[in-house]
Subunit: 460 residues, 2 copies
């Protein structure tokens, strides 16, 4: 029985343009048919921090840039769209689609706060509308994971000894793309590397690995399994010692190393009372490393370190790649300004609990004595204190920004954390970092709201 070869992933060049909600295309055709294509500004931001988060570390901008600069509707995509009753005129428009607008954004590795634009797109509304779905997807997920990773890195740095942190989560990530991007975002958040070989290949991230229980079980005895591994890998060996009994396993590991006349790099513990076991194992393995896996997260790393556990590295998996205590960021992409009579006018909606600050923004950060003191969310052209955090990325469709290397973005996260108040970095119940809304933005918000309220609410 045969099977057609298909792509995996599963979104590739051939249909990234289609990674959009149908309503984006429906609206785009509507804009064409009604001859209504004003310039518009969309702001990508989140209204609320996820639970127990005092900040969000941004990530995903490089993928957004790739998307905006390269998206195109190929023959296969266009053929599929003919099934939807779209007009010839609209399909011709899509065939020559190119992004011609402007993008400003926070660089990857920037700490951000609610209502601050992570990204602003200004373009003919027909173009800007298409990217809503894919831009939220790209920025939202990577920022979620970079944040989770940064919490772990911050915990290790505060309570530990700068231990290594390696992403072990690919198997539990939400699909293959998530496995890859989680590895990337975790690195930006401060991780040392990943176990995922494809992510190492794609993003040039250091790749690490040890052995699984299956190696040990596949040999008649644990001793023979360790001997075979040490014979191949010598002093690079990291032996998994908990298949049958952790203490017994650690002793066997060292016996084998001694018998073979080699050091080993370390042992891995993957189950049981990790604090107690790590202390017992440390007595046995001496200078060799102790690597801790077993479903750990930042809370457990903190407990482990503050309770005297001994480790040279940690391999968080599921908790990291799913951000399990907060598996989504409520990022949105909202129209905040639209051209009327030849000028961009601020716009907002009044939907209950979902109010948006209107207009193009500026995100200013005020430092005091080398520490972040507060942010100011202001109008784009307003005179306000602090340093502008948004940078120009694309102007008139042309890239004007050199995306930094992953190492540069990772360094940026690290530097930002040195300035972020400790109480905002707490793992639980962090203190809200002050974000002031400027006078200009407050008064613009009030005036747009009043006008809309008068028209729609008082009319009832």
């Amino acid at each position: 029985m045969g099977m057609t070869r298909k792509t995996f992933g599963t979104v590739t060049d051939k249909n990234l343009a289609l990674f959009t909600d149908l309503y984006e295309l429906t609206m785009m055709q509507g804009y064409i048919e009604t001859g209504h294509n004003p310039t518009a500004t969309f702001s990508l931001f989140y209204r609320d921090l996820p639970p127990n988060r005092g900040y969000v570390v941004t990530a995903g901008l490089e993928q957004v840039v790739q998307c905006l600069e390269t998206v195109s509707f190929g023959d296969e995509a266009l053929a599929f769209l003919t099934e939807f009753d779209f007009s010839e005129e609209f399909l011709s428009y899509l065939e020559q689609f190119e992004f011609s607008g402007d993008v400003r954004a926070l660089p990857e590795g920037t700490v951000s706060f609610p209502n601050e634009p992570l990204l602003e797109v200004t373009a003919p509304i027909l173009e800007a509308q298409l990217f809503e779905t894919v831009l939220i997807n790209q920025i939202g997920f990577q920022s979620l994971i970079a944040t989770k990773a940064a919490r772990m890195r911050d915990t290790v740095n505060e309570h530990g000894d700068d231990q290594s942190l390696v992403d072990f989560g690919s198997r539990r990530a939400h699909g293959t793309d998530a496995g890859m991007k989680a590895a990337r975002a975790a690195y930006i958040g401060g991780f040392t590397g990943t176990s995922n070989v494809a992510a190492g290949h794609e993003f040039d991230i250091p790749v690490f690995g040890t052995m699984a229980h299956s190696w040990v079980q596949s040999f008649p005895t644990e001793r023979e399994a360790f001997e075979a591994f040490v014979d191949v890998y010598g002093e690079e060996s990291v032996l998994l010692v908990d298949t049958y009994d952790t203490i017994n396993g650690a002793q066997t590991a060292m016996d084998v190393a001694e018998a073979r006349g080699t050091d080993i790099s370390g042992v891995r513990l993957d189950s049981g009372d990790l604090v107690e076991l790590s202390r017992e194992v440390a007595e046995i393995v001496g200078e060799a490393g102790i690597f801790i896996s077993s479903g750990i997260d930042e809370y457990e790393i903190q407990d482990f370190l503050t309770n005297g556990g001994i480790a040279t590295g940690f391999g968080p998996g599921t908790a990291l790649v799913t951000s399990d205590d907060a598996p989504s960021l409520d990022a949105v992409y909202k129209l905040v300004a639209v051209e009327r009579d030849g000028e961009l006018q601020p716009s907002m909606k009044l939907s209950t609990g979902k109010v948006t600050y209107p207009g193009q923004k500026s995100v200013r950060r005020v430092e005091d004595d080398g520490q972040f003191e507060r942010d100011v969310l202001a109008l784009h052209d307003e005179d306000a204190p602090g340093d502008e955090q948004l940078v120009d990325v694309i102007i008139d469709g042309s890239l004007v920004y050199a995306p930094p290397s992953l190492d540069e973005s990772r360094d940026r996260t690290c530097r930002q954390f040195q300035k972020l108040p400790q109480e905002t970095r707490r793992l639980q119940n962090p203190v809200e970092y002050p974000v002031h809304v400027s006078d200009g933005l407050q008064s613009q918000t009030a005036s747009v709201r009043d006008e809309l309220s008068a028209r729609y609410l008082d009319a009832r």
Copy 2:
């Protein structure tokens, strides 16, 4: 400034083979170097149900089959691996890698329970080892989402009127692949369709869409926005009415329809007190549909329906595609049998809290009066009651299974739910469905455990 064109996705044919943890490759090279390549059976299962789940609906088998049947190490992958100090012999092995083993699995759309194999792979350990990471990834995520979707479908069918359920979650999914696969898995779980155009293209799922707030805001008034949309889409129009004021918006929608002399398909509510608003809106819109979005999940759908909310359809997003109340399934891929002296021998580990039943299994389902009464987890060749649920998928590397269409898998889920006890389907605190461990499996487990305990635990 230029930018290299890259793939999105980001895992494509060129590096799916690399979507693996480094330790799989390290072990594989170790097996080669030590001349140790016994036949082994790996079982993919989960030990515990996610919180508030009484079952897991399986999904993802088709992607697993594609993976096993087509994976290969191309020049680019092999070139990357030379960076890791792998031997010439191992790289030559990878260059000609093909899967030659056997696979048995639960068909997509089957309800499953803890410790039951969703999939069993029997192959030379060198081959079976490679796929650990990608198989857990493919089956785990889609099963998680199919389960979440089935909970929503079951809730709607029990408390409602078989309303439509459309996946609106692509923007909040964990990357692009997750957006695609969530749409697929949700359809298997009983959804009506998706908003994701690429998923419609890739998997032939019905695609739906309405309009966004940006359409409404881009026109000077809501009325003009509705007029423009109705002029283009006529009776197919679904108008979003909560941009400024839901009741006012619903009235405006109907005024516009009347003025234009057309019916409209419906209105969408996306904020506010949905029960109360839907009842008021129903009075206004008459025969037109009411579509509910706004961050809903199965619990809110249940509350909405039992409290008298009126709707013709729901568009869950974030909660669906992230399975937000349970964002991971603890699926594992464990060695359960290994060849010794020419025969497959049962194997297990003793790691604290992570015990695995040894040996190849059979999953039997016993029905009584058309209802599922209990499952029996038995040895593969054991005489046990009930119908075998695992089917042969691949034998000696050849596909012997015609993957069903998505509609067939969706029908299977639906038929299984008609037989699944109501108390096991509860949204909260479901009653545990009985899975009996057969006499043969119990005695085999005890005997392997005793032997290992004597060797490793008593030796301390």
